[in-house]
Symmetry: C2
Subunit: 211 residues, 2 copies
Amino acid sequence: MQTAASITQNSHLSPIPRARSQTHIRPVTFHAPDCVIYAQGQRSRSLYQIEYGAVRIYRLLADGRRQIVAFHLVGETFGFEINETHGFYAEAMVNTGLTTVERAAGGQLNDRLVGVALKAMVRAQEHLLVVGRQSSLEKIAVFLVDLADRQDGTDLIDLPMSRIDIGDYLGITIETVSRTISKLRDMGIVKLHNARSIEIIKPEKLRMLSN
Amino acid sequence: MQTAASITQNSHLSPIPRARSQTHIRPVTFHAPDCVIYAQGQRSRSLYQIEYGAVRIYRLLADGRRQIVAFHLVGETFGFEINETHGFYAEAMVNTGLTTVERAAGGQLNDRLVGVALKAMVRAQEHLLVVGRQSSLEKIAVFLVDLADRQDGTDLIDLPMSRIDIGDYLGITIETVSRTISKLRDMGIVKLHNARSIEIIKPEKLRMLSN
DNA sequence: CGAGCCGTTGAAACTAGTCAATTATTGTGG
DNA sequence: CCACAATAATTGACTAGTTTCAACGGCTCG
């Protein structure tokens, strides 16, 4: 096993992350937490694949509120946009390494692009179902279950995002996020190792809530 | 001008709708209000274009609640799904005429299909922003503005959907829908000719609310 | 070790939901 | 065509849940 990726920097900080082993050499750009990957209105260039770390996709509303439309984790690809310019912001939430996937010349839609778009659509639709739900308990439950599933289905969840991020993703305040997670703890369903590390003690009950 | 579409029936009722003039002869299937066009789990066959009428796309949640993910109006195309089977229900909300657009053989993605998918994704993302908003006043405002824009930008909105539909679309109850619209009326922003016909009196104020 | 940020918890205010009653609209049969 | 029934929409009173404002604890980083 050899490190096959060169590292380019894109931030003020510069830890040396280990790239996952790859068959082809691809440059990995590094992004520190809260570092902008692309901005709303910016020209859309390519797709991004997450080698390590996590990313939030969001839009700013006119009154300053922020709606996070998606979180992307290790191994996932994001950055597809219909228009020439990005309609959303993308930011790293933790130390993040990205490789880029260039668009086919002439703006042609290739299979990879369409695949990413379709996945994004499914995500958006699923997210819609969650945000449309009434109770914060359900929202948090769905959120945790989804995250656990995407992290190889382990019951020990590592949260790369802050409470604010979670709130802006689910459409609730950070206080409600915190209170709801505390409630799940009091119900014996989860255990908080620390604020960013949650263990699911009773997965079946959590799934019952998330339905 | 000649009627170029043959009519096939797909319901218990049978008014004779007028087809819009077309260059090619396409069969128009008729659907009475609340008539299912396709069901969740059903095999996905083709795309549908609305010749007249309106359609709701929704999913049923385990606890019996219903999340409407989209409304489709005259001239719009819907029915695209990633999987072989539909993940959503589609129902006519009023008397509706549809023409079908067959998928290319072999499940190949053609341009038309991709276009519809992309539009659906944008809609889903926009919808997300709306449902994620806090106040019902904003939600209703956005909903009305969007509907007005899609109905040729006229200030006289014809609502093909019930209050229940609106509620299930915005994630609020019918009582709140009703109260909020009444509030807009009391504020002098809209005028209700009847429950299904709303005139926007002060478009700028409505847009201000919808941001 | 202290400053500052993040997260948690508490109390009050408010928004939306629930339950219930009334009115309006639509459809049906005499 | 009218009366009645059934459904849809509105409005009111009350309750529950979320937000807001505020204080406090804990972790991280210089």
